[in-house]
Symmetry: C2
Subunit: 219 residues, 2 copies
DNA sequence: CATAGTATAATTGTATACAATTATGCGAAG
DNA sequence: CTTCGCATAATTGTATACAATTATACTATG
C-alpha cells in the first residue's frame, strides 16, 4: 500500500508536488516542461508524466496545447478537506479498531511517545514528520486501500497548514494527547470510541485553526 | 471542474480505464506499453502517461523496470467504497442544498424525469448514463472541487456494479424515486433533509446489493 | 498612432532512438 | 533430470527528433 517508486519520473513527480504544496510554485504559475526539466536535470519526458499525474491529483490544470498551470490552494479547499476528513477519519479509525495489527499498534505507540518528546522540545520539523507517520499508519491500519488512498492524499494536501498549527507548542501537545487517546481506543478495539475520538481530533484541529485565523494559515 | 481534454494521451487514458473497469483487462494482467500502443494505433509515449495516471488512481500497479499490472476490484473494495460514499454523499448533498444553482436544479429535474421514462422501458444503458449524470451534477453542485473529485472517482469506479443493480426494474424505479426526493430537498434548500436522503440512498443501494448477492455483482 | 497580418519563435504533442533493466531460452555441468 | 550460467530477446526508462499548435514581435497599412 505504501508504494515507493524510485524511478526518475517518480522523483520528478514528488519534487514538483512538494514545490506546489510548499508554495515554491505559486498559484496560476505556468509550469513549462523544458524549464522544469532543466531545473531538475532531466528531459521533458519524465516532467510531462509528472504533470499529467499532478493534474489527476488536482494540483495542476492542463490546457491542451497551451500549458500546465498550478492550481492554487484556497481557504475553502482547506475548509472542505477538513470537513470531509472529519467524516472519514472517524470511519477510518473505526475500521482500524477492528483490523489493526499488533505491529501497527506498536508503531503508533512509538510515534506518540516520540512526538511527546519533540513537542516539549518544540521541534516542529520532527512533529510534522511524526504526524505524517501517525496518520499514515492509522490509514493503513484501516485495511482499506480506498480509505488509505483518499485520506493520505488529503492529509498530504494540507501539510502546509499542519506545519503552522504544530508550531504552537500547546496545540502540538494537545494534538498528541488526542493521538494517544485514539491509540488507547484502538488497543481496546473499541470501534465506537475510536471513531468518536478520531472525528473529534479533526474537530479540535479546525477549532484551533479558527483561533489562529485563516488568513495566517493560507495566503 | 468537468475537464474535457481531447488530446491523444487523454483519450488513451480513458480507453484503458474503461477497459479495466469493464473487465476487458482482467486482474493482474500485465499491460505492455508496446502492445497497447499497437492496439490503439499510438506510440508508447501516450500509453506510458496513461499508465502512470492510472497508477495514481489505483487501477494499475507499476513495478519499476518490470511492468504495469491491472489491480483487481474485490468485493471488499466495493463494500468499502459504498461505506465511504454513505458518509460523503450525505455531506455532499448538504452542501449542494446550500449552493446549488437554478440551472443545476433544472438539470437534475430533467434527469430524474428522463430516468423515470427509461426505467419503465427497461433501458439499462440509458439509466446508467442518467445515474452518472445525476450524481455528477450533484457532486458539482456541492461547490467543492475536493468533494467532486473524490465522489466522481468512486462513483466511476463502481460503474460495473451499478450496471447490474439497475438491470432490476424495481431497483431502477426505487433508485429514481430516491433521486426525486433528494431533488425536492435541494429545491427547498433543506440541507439536513438532503443529507439524510442522500445517505439513505446509498444505504438502500447497499441493501439492494445484499439482496442480489455479492457473488453476482463482482466476480 | 493603432491595428491587422504575417513571419518567427516558443511550447506542447507524438513518435522514435538509445540506454538500462529484466525476462527467456539454451547448453553445459553436476 | 535438474540447475546454474550466460547469451539473446523483450521491455521499460529516458532522451531526442519531428510535427502541430500557440505565443510573440515586427511590419505594413489605414
Amino acid at each position: 500500500m505504501g508504494e515507493d517508486n524510485h524511478s526518475l519520473g517518480s522523483r520528478v513527480f514528488h519534487i514538483i508536488r512538494e514545490n506546489i504544496l510548499a508554495g515554491k510554485y505559486t498559484a496560476n504559475e505556468e509550469l513549462k516542461e523544458k524549464t522544469i526539466g532543466e531545473e531538475l536535470g532531466v528531459s521533458r519526458t519524465p516532467v510531462r508524466e509528472a504533470l499529467r499525474q499532478l493534474e489527476l491529483e488536482g494540483l495542476v490544470s492542463i490546457i491542451p496545447n497551451k500549458g500546465a498551470y498550478v492550481v492554487g490552494i484556497t481557504k475553502k479547499d482547506i475548509r472542505d478537506i477538513y470537513e470531509i476528513r472529519e467524516r472519514l477519519e472517524g470511519l477510518c479509525a473505526k475500521w482500524a479498531a477492528l483490523y489493526i495489527t499488533k505491529e501497527q499498534l506498536d508503531e503508533l505507540e512509538e510515534i506518540v511517545f516520540l512526538a511527546d518528546f519533540h513537542a516539549k522540545k518544540g521541534n516542529v520539523e520532527q512533529l510534522v514528520e511524526l504526524d505524517n507517520k501517525f496518520h499514515e499508519t492509522l490509514y493503513r491500519a484501516s485495511g482499506s486501500k480506498e480509505m488509505y488512498h483518499v485520506l493520505s492524499d488529503f492529509h498530504h494536501y494540507v501539510q502546509r497548514v499542519r506545519k503552522i498549527t504544530l508550531t504552537s507548542e500547546k496545540r502540538a501537545a494537545d494534538s498528541n494527547k488526542e493521538h494517544m487517546m485514539i491509540v488507547e481506543a484502538l488497543k481496546e478495539h473499541d470501534a465506537d470510541m475510536a471513531e468518536k475520538l478520531a472525528s473529534q481530533h479533526i474537530l479540535s484541529t479546525v477549532e484551533n485553526m479558527d483561533r489562529i485565523g485563516w488568513d495566517v494559515l493560507v495566503s
